[in-house]
Subunit: 202 residues, 2 copies
């Protein structure tokens, strides 16, 4: 059976997104224009240097994400929102979106299908594991969804990409999660990011 | 003029000490016996591997620490408490202790003298800078004192030692500090700790 992996970029103070997220500013008060550019510049401006970590993000055979990461629609699905990633999302596998509001599966180009899961994180991870077969499942975020997975003991490995800024407010990894014993299995440095991989022991 | 450096061990979720600190458990609910062994095992169990970082901790020509790091006495100095570090502390320089309660300087063996500063972090850092001459000042902690220094723009460099556990509660680095722009100047990995050095840009 594959692993359940988290892959997320956080600030030095642990935030994956700023406060006050909106459709026009999905990363909220991120110190920039709200599109998370400062958080993710390591992927775009330094792609060659961080190739292994970037490639690792797309090897999962199924994904889980929270509804706030999927999009800005709240409450009922009163308009056709198919994620931030266009007609051909970079996942090419089933993606399980946690929501309180039922919706039919949404097939996209390139073998990505969004499935909407209304019965909680355990169910979403179980469905993703089933879809992934022997492959890995990646929980993409946001931090709220990851924290639910950590609190429920569902996560095997944390791949954190720590960037040199602080936000002071927003959505924070580990918030509300009981103390964890971790094992540092890898730590790598690049020019503007530190990659740390932890195995979750308990 | 030297730099003002922070040198502190934190958990993956940013805590330098757990909640509920007491004299018998100065690191509080740290997942161990309250003496911070899990936080600091990288220094003791893996000293050879981390020699450069350990040596770097004792090169300052003056130190600043908060009263809660200095000891468990609260309120007036109603008993003779001379720090956790015995008669010959490892500092061998002036150490400026932030407190609301005046006390005469306390000379110790080995050229360490504890000075008690009652007029705030700016004053403590200014006095330490004066004492350090061209040398560096290190702010040792706790996180509350460091956060005051960060909020006041007094800190040039953060040397963080990130260890593989989370605490979920306690004294947290960056709490209450406005957003910071950092520059990652060094990042090093060891078997059970990740060392990251940031320059504070603004």
């Amino acid at each position: 059976m594959g692993k359940v992996i988290v892959n997320i970029t956080i600030t030095a103070d642990g935030y994956s997104a700023g406060a006050n997220q909106t459709e026009k500013r999905p990363f909220g008060d991120d110190g920039g224009d709200g599109w998370g550019d400062r958080l993710h510049s390591w992927m775009f401006e330094n792609a060659d240097e961080n190739r292994a970590e970037i490639d690792q993000m797309t090897i999962a055979k199924a994904y889980v994400m929270g509804r706030n990461m999927f999009g800005p629609v709240r409450g009922e699905w009163d308009r056709q929102w198919n994620g931030w990633w266009g007609d051909n999302p970079p996942y090419h596998t089933p993606v399980f979106v946690l929501t309180h509001y039922p919706r039919d599966p949404q097939p996209m180009d390139g073998d990505t299908t969004y499935h909407f899961v209304t019965d909680g994180i355990e169910s979403a991870v179980a469905q993703a594991r089933e879809a992934a077969g022997d492959g890995d499942v990646t929980i993409l975020g946001g931090a709220t969804t990851i924290n639910q997975g950590l609190a429920a003991g569902l996560i095997d490995e944390l791949r954190l990409h720590i960037v040199p800024l602080t936000l002071g407010a927003g959505t924070r990894l580990f918030d509300g999660v009981p103390p964890l014993n971790l094992e540092q299995v890898e730590s790598k440095t690049a020019s503007s990011v530190t990659h740390v991989t932890y195995r979750v022991l308990s």
